[in-house]
Symmetry: C2
Subunit: 140 residues, 2 copies
């Protein structure tokens, strides 16, 4: 049952180092999420549907939620919000910015935006991070 090639090794280590047993489901999900060049922004439903589409034995909804939460806790995913009441996840865990274009999300590297003026944190507080959303619309 356990097919294991060297490609999976990375994902297995990633999971193990987070205290997660590398079950088949978790390895498959990790491969799907992290085995790509570009950042991936997704909802759990989207992830579930696109992965299960091509599988005979479906992974359960609960496992998708569990795994995404575990990867988020382990620091491999970041959560963010659009303005519909659904959680989105981001495979780019560095602090960065976004274009929002009608539900489509595009990364902006942190160094592409710099500030001329920023307010101080209220007393007793400090700034954890600063993230920018640039909302787009069609020309004309």
């Amino acid at each position: 049952m356990h097919k294991m090639n060297s490609k999976n090794k990375t994902f297995i280590d990633k999971l193990r180092s987070s205290g997660l047993r590398p079950t088949n489901q978790r390895v498959e999900i990790s491969k799907f999420l992290f085995n790509r060049k570009k950042t991936f922004h997704f909802t759990v439903e989207e992830l579930k549907n696109s992965m299960n589409l091509k599988r005979s034995k479906k992974i359960s909804t609960a496992t998708f939620y569990n795994t995404v939460h575990a990867l988020k806790s382990a620091g491999y995913l970041k959560e963010f919000s659009l303005e519909n009441n659904t959680s989105y996840y981001d495979t780019n865990i560095k602090s960065h910015h976004h274009f929002f274009d009608n539900g489509k999300v595009i990364d902006i590297k942190s160094d592409k935006i710099t500030f001329h003026k920023l307010p101080d944190a209220p007393k007793g507080k400090k700034i954890k991070n600063v993230e920018v959303v640039i909302r787009l619309e069609n020309n004309n």
Copy 2:
């Protein structure tokens, strides 16, 4: 039944000019939302609970949702998202920025943040607005 003083006039006009009949419920909700000095950030549940607490005849959940949506469509409220799957509304309809401090939201006037560098919009697109979230944490 219809108590109407000059204070309500403003709200009635606001509603009328948006094509909304100024029913008692809508006037009460508008007063509650807009009759204050500071920006108000809220969820529909929060609004409903705080308003209904002090009323003998409760306003229904559906009316809170309907009215908030109507006010949003009319441009009197803006919607935004924190990272739980709930919609928040903002009585400050101008483009502006926020501090997020453990679920607490604080306005930052637009002119308190200026940019040194900003990316261009992808081709075919233009920038609709730029909004910044500054996440806070406690000192030390």
